[in-house]
Point group: D2
Chain length 135, copies 4
């Protein structure tokens, strides 16, 4: 772990499940994004910061996810997120999704973000205030 860590607790809601009776795979990535949003709020950089005109954007450029155990409606979940990479123009978060109360690992998700200008002109360096927030 090279940066900020964060714990996000939640419950698997019915809308995240599919006809196989378990969480739909893409919803597991959404859980990891939810933990990222929660971490950014705690770090003083809520996502709304990056939705303002002229703000830098932090789009996701790559995701990797491993799905080990099914999660079901009503399951209590603990997401342990850590900033797992901070580069000049990109960073990543890795989230371990644990089933409570045993904390068995149900999934692991890594999301890679880059820092870009809002006008679409390309990547830019992560500003110091964001680097500090992620560290």
């Amino acid at each position: 772990m090279i940066g900020r860590s964060h714990v996000h607790n939640t419950t698997i809601r019915f809308s995240r499940t599919d006809a196989a009776g378990v969480i739909y795979f893409a919803q597991v990535l959404d859980l990891a994004h939810e933990a990222y949003e929660s971490m950014m709020e705690e770090a003083g950089c809520p996502l709304s910061t990056f939705l303002k005109p002229n703000s830098i954007h932090l789009p996701i450029i790559r995701s990797e996810a491993d799905f080990r155990l099914p999660m079901r409606s009503g399951d209590r979940i603990r997401v342990e997120l850590a900033v797992s990479h901070i580069g000049a123009r990109s960073f990543a978060t890795t989230s371990r999704v644990l089933l409570e109360p045993d904390r068995t690992v149900a999934a692991q998700v890594t999301l890679y973000h880059c820092c870009v200008y809002p006008d679409g002109s390309g990547a830019t360096d992560i500003p110091d205030w964001l680097r500090s927030a992620l560290a």
Copy 2:
């Protein structure tokens, strides 16, 4: 039917289902919105028109939905949409969601939109070009 009508064909995808094995109720409203988007494209007013700076917005102010039959992953669906109301500052679409090939009614959804200024200053009259498109 007092305005434009439109038919939208689609297939129930797995992500729309839930652990009860059928389509999640809120996804039925999304099907109706998808038919609305398709109708607006055919009418020459794709939703992207209303996402431009200074464009009027058409937020949904009310929805009503009746759910009669379950829909399952892979079911072929025909959505028959009609503009069911055009007022000074609002309009509505009513969508009948039919199961193919029998065309039994699985659901009916009405979405009420109003026409507002983008600056949040309130409702405004539906412009003539939009009124013509809906009629």
Copy 3:
């Protein structure tokens, strides 16, 4: 209010928003369902109860929703749910979705459920244990 009431607090997550910058309308109905799930857990009848073989099902047969104010990514929300109808074979919940900290009403959603046999043979009376939980 004729039955159980429940308060559910949450935060609007980014995935619930759309390109208009606010919560997508169908996600407001999902918020109301999330509050319903939370209420049923508190009442000792989590939704997983109704997913077991041979259990009665409680499908939604109708929804009504009024959307008054936009909700944005990061907004803190308080959902005040009440069981607003209990009939022989159906019940309804009405959820007021409030923006914190002012508690202005952003939306109101009513979901009507009926009680059915799992084999698709039709409606049945709400069993006493469920009637007590909802009251």
Copy 4:
């Protein structure tokens, strides 16, 4: 390409977008799954096959996705899917998501499935009829 290939055409719907004005990242993975469902239908193995009692299941055990260009509401999309791996007990599909009409690559998604018994007892060999369908 070592197996079946398939083309799936669709349009980016409004509900897939987020407040940044573009498709929400997890929805890109859902587009790839939609193409997989379409391929399986064409191959004679619709997903409903695997939802029947006693059927083998094909859960996703890993996903990888690269996001290169934003997609917006109304964009026409062509998904070119190919079965990129067939092992004893697992297979993968790789989907290139192209923006029409230029067919520039907006994203690439690989989904890894394994073949398991429905009772949770673990992995099993891909049956011959499925192997033929994927080849």
